[in-house]
Symmetry: D2
Subunit: 358 residues, 4 copies
């Protein structure tokens, strides 16, 4: 209701502000009997954490997950899985300059208006730090999906004007983690990295796109009408900080085709498949067994190392300027977040689909 | 859970198949005391119905809404609003040719696999006929929004390769209903219409984009983290049949800008506003009072009047070909559906926002 | 949210007022592939309908259910099941005497205060007529439960001061429908009937208790902590008009025992069972395979054929007196309602339990 | 869905097992701007904690609540309120004797059957320790209710065969905390305490009833049909460990009256009120402004200090006997739990009622 819970059966509820004592959440509805590899979960968190390379923020955050319940002798019990990630940031740090400032294209103004009272330190509840909890839950969801052979990966497919000129069928998932930008084409990756270095020197930021691919999805996931598989994936992606757009399958490019060109013809080759996959593995909101793929557009990070005009709560003109260590490009750190949210959607529909027919 | 309910407080649950006795739904959570103009609701339905112009399907469907409860002496009582729209289609018509056929890029295959048993007549539950119920509920939501001065309209901004070269700030909402394609620029509209006429002659179909604009939104709508205003709008739009993509504000184009270029600077001119509106009226998932605008991509209708290769349930190769009267381009009829879904999202958040602070 | 939907996965949403055009509802989440015996559903409705015997209201209501969707060729498709029951009552009838009157122990006053505007005709939304929709959905749930061998029945165990002196293990379910009061002991039944006849002559009303028994429940139904099986059963029963109390297993009588007397000892006789069943088939909120049994207390019907003092909306003193044909004792008609609500709870937990463990 | 969340708008989700690292929860939907008195919250927890008197368990548990989010400078921000209560129990303690044992009238058997894998230490998730999290959330709800002048208290009205012979209108709430059994009549309280001392010497346990009273409730709380105010109160109470029955207003005793005797006559004395209050402050599921009162039946604690026959997971006969320090009578510690659950229900409906009419 208040927007802090995601999912229907396999659910995640998160809590926590950027500079409070801890963030964390409760994963509910995970079936009993699932082996939890805590190292895998921590590794997923490490893929998201600050300071992992020179093209992301150099803040030091430990981001160690601590499970408090729901797992006994390394196996889920069906009870809710509570977890916390302590915040390393010193509470004593001075954030008083942010108290009344409305930073451009941040959530300061809207939170102040909506709630009347807010934790202004580092963005408080609106900070992308909250996504660390999503990565924890997404890792559990991935473990569940692995039991069902579902494979899932995301990668950076565009940074500003540098675009990966390969479709998702032409890349190798094993190449994604080989560079700090998480683009599975080494040459393009280096161009992206160099570009981000330049942008960083300017005190500026850039956005781009992340492409996500899901393979071996069972046929039948997704609930028709309002909870179509791609509608939930879209909501999941749009709920990530800085996302401005979502498209799946042919996406916005579908406009350029006629029906006779875009339709995916069925054929029977060791089972019913489509010759092409403009549908993106989803038809009528339900997975058809082909690869699911979609793109997510991220805007440039709003915090820049340049002075910007703004106003404060009193309505007076002020100048704001980023302090500390921020991301010139958030995309490499957003890759595990995109994967986590996709995994949550898939795990939820996987469970729900078990009770669809007698 | 099963995907037939939309919303949190102001909710719509729909039922009905394309060729069953009736479709309909239950609107719940509408506050008591709202005057219902049934003619307005019916007029919204008429904007969606088949046969309204020569560029859409020539099927005859009456689509008369019949309210069964929740409204007493033309005013809502707070009780659930049940309604039905009878189906005019003769049950006796022969649909046996569709019984085992999997039409390309339709939901026949996925429904059969998911449920094992389906009403195959005219797409059954997967038919876009279901969206008539959304238009009814959206009309009620619009009446609630009007009480709060919120204005909302959508229009066709692209058909295949013909694009309206005006932004949402350059068009006049009053021009939308002046032509059958619902594009508020007469010259572009005529080009679109002519193009659709040609496509129809080919027995083919085309898609395009619809742009939706919401004005006078109160500041503070949307729930942070998972239920961001644009995330729910995105889900709402992606739940409409044939939609492949959603973007709001700068959308996918945000990739082409640096942070310093894209950030919306606050200024105080009779209240705090942003100089530019790349944010699309939403910051941190919460409305900031500026215009909300977004684009929705529709693929070409899957049913074409040309023979297509496919397979049937037995896995045998078959040829399918559209029969009857179908839409060469669904966009003009989708305009009221986009508006209805946007209205449902806004009405829901409007109510929820009333209990956000003491 | 607004209280018109029951259940988590297998859900019922109802609409409709006593004297509107129709009542009805949407059953969602029923698995595909379930054979629907419409005659069985109608028969359940007939067990609830007015006029079925001389000890209940002599109103004539046809109460014919009309399914509009979700069932194709007599089998559920997984799509929502919409249904309506038309109201026979003439709209033209004069209810103006009720417009401003607050009948004692009715919902007139609270509805007026809560909503400001209400359909006052025959109680409107607060009328027990709404429970007809529950009986329809409960009948579908019973068909699902039958597939899992679950048996479920209810009976009148007390009317005013006349109490059935047999426990649920001493009666025969086949005897319940043998008399008009639905008490499975013929002698007690006749005493109850005679007493109700006398009460009716006085223009008065009486209440009593209904006992419900569920046999062959699979072990494991119910979700711990907040959604315990008996907590949901309790909510379900307390949501029925005129219910004032709920107890399961030993119930309120548990107070009279010490732990050493009340504990149910486990033994292994062709499987693990308890020697006694004070737990009422539920331990820790989860079914243990023993018989589930509970009692529901119904107050006397509030409408009596005697003049009563009251006030109207203006706060003036008035005299109200029941008109028309009302129930001197609602219990025999409430038996199928109790069963229906119990069936909805069980069906919901049955589905949910399928995804509890890997 | 999985039963770990309570409420619709003002919600509590709990996690944690009796002997895990910590228990805790997330309170969501609490409006921004509420002053939180942490000492008050801790005091509520202290009313529930073990070791507070000689008639309850002598276990030492610190039960210190630690808020992690959602409160900034002692005021709620509208963000979710995460909290933890660390478990003091040494993990190293030996619980292996419980690993395969099914203790009589505990949840060991049903959890094992339902989940296949469980944390058997001290009852794990089924332990009443979970209710500490409810008391924390209930304390926040009480603070919200206080802002609306709602008063709420509970007390022990019966222990085994010793019954308080005063109605809720005859006692003084200020007397409740004056003795260790929390009965507001000193003489009865001492009888209860002496009786519990004797029962404890026998190594046995007893149950009883708790009565709860809510004063100054605004008219209009509760949602009709399925979410009636008393139905949610009933569910809330029945979800508390060891509860076997719930009745409100006249309760089960309503059976002994005729309609003419039980109906509550309206009169206008400085506003519309009822002369009597058999309705228990609720009519048609909605509060009418009179005192709400209800009784909750608790069975004797299942753990007794006597040998009991049972079986283990292998189906073999075993003897189990309580170890450590357990409650001979749980009622005094259950009083704050009953209050907490009642407060959660009221707070939720209070918020929801704000959007019922325009």
């Amino acid at each position: 209701m208040s927007g802090n819970t995601f999912g229907n059966i396999f659910t995640l509820t998160t809590f926590g502000e950027s500079h409070g004592e801890a963030i964390g959440g409760i994963i509910d509805g995970c079936p009993a009997g699932l082996k939890i590899d805590v190292d895998f979960v921590q590794n997923e968190l490490d893929r998201r954490k600050p300071g992992q390379s020179h093209i992301v923020t150099q803040r030091k955050e430990n981001d160690a997950v601590n499970f408090l319940s729901g797992i006994f002798e390394d196996i889920t019990t069906g009870a809710p899985i509570g977890f916390v990630i302590n915040n390393d940031n010193p509470k004593s740090k001075d954030y008083s300059h942010l108290k009344d400032a409305f930073r451009p294209s941040h959530a300061d103004f809207t939170y102040q208006q909506k709630y009347g009272h807010r934790d202004y330190r580092g963005g408080g509840r609106s900070s992308a730090r909250e996504t660390a909890s999503r990565v924890v839950a997404g890792a559990i969801a991935k473990l569940l999906l692995k039991r069902h052979k579902v494979e899932l990966f995301a990668y950076v497919s565009q940074v500003h004007n540098i675009k990966l000129n390969k479709s998702h069928t032409e890349i190798n998932a094993a190449d994604i983690e080989k560079n700090s930008i998480r683009c599975p084409d080494e040459k393009t990756a280096q161009q992206m990295i160099t570009h981000i270095e330049n942008i960083k020197k300017q005190g500026d930021t850039v956005g781009g796109t992340i492409t996500c691919v899901i393979k071996n999805t069972p046929i039948g996931l997704g609930e028709p009408v309002f909870n179509k598989l791609h509608a939930e994936l879209g909501k999941a992606m749009l709920s990530i900080n800085a996302v401005k757009g979502f498209e799946y399958g042919a996406g916005f490019d579908c406009i350029n085709y006629k029906g006779s060109e875009l339709n995916d013809i069925f054929e029977n080759k060791n089972g019913i498949h489509t010759k092409t996959n403009h549908s993106g593995g989803i038809q009528g909101g339900i997975s058809n067994g082909e690869d699911i793929y979609f793109n997510v557009a991220f805007k440039p990070v709003a915090t820049i190392m340049q002075p910007q005009q703004s106003v404060n709560a009193a309505g007076d003109e002020i100048i704001v300027e980023g302090r500390g260590r921020h991301d010139p490009c958030v995309l490499p750190r957003a890759v595990p977040i995109v994967e986590a949210m996709a995994a949550l959607v898939l795990a939820d529909f996987l469970l729900l689909n078990k009770i669809t027919k007698l």
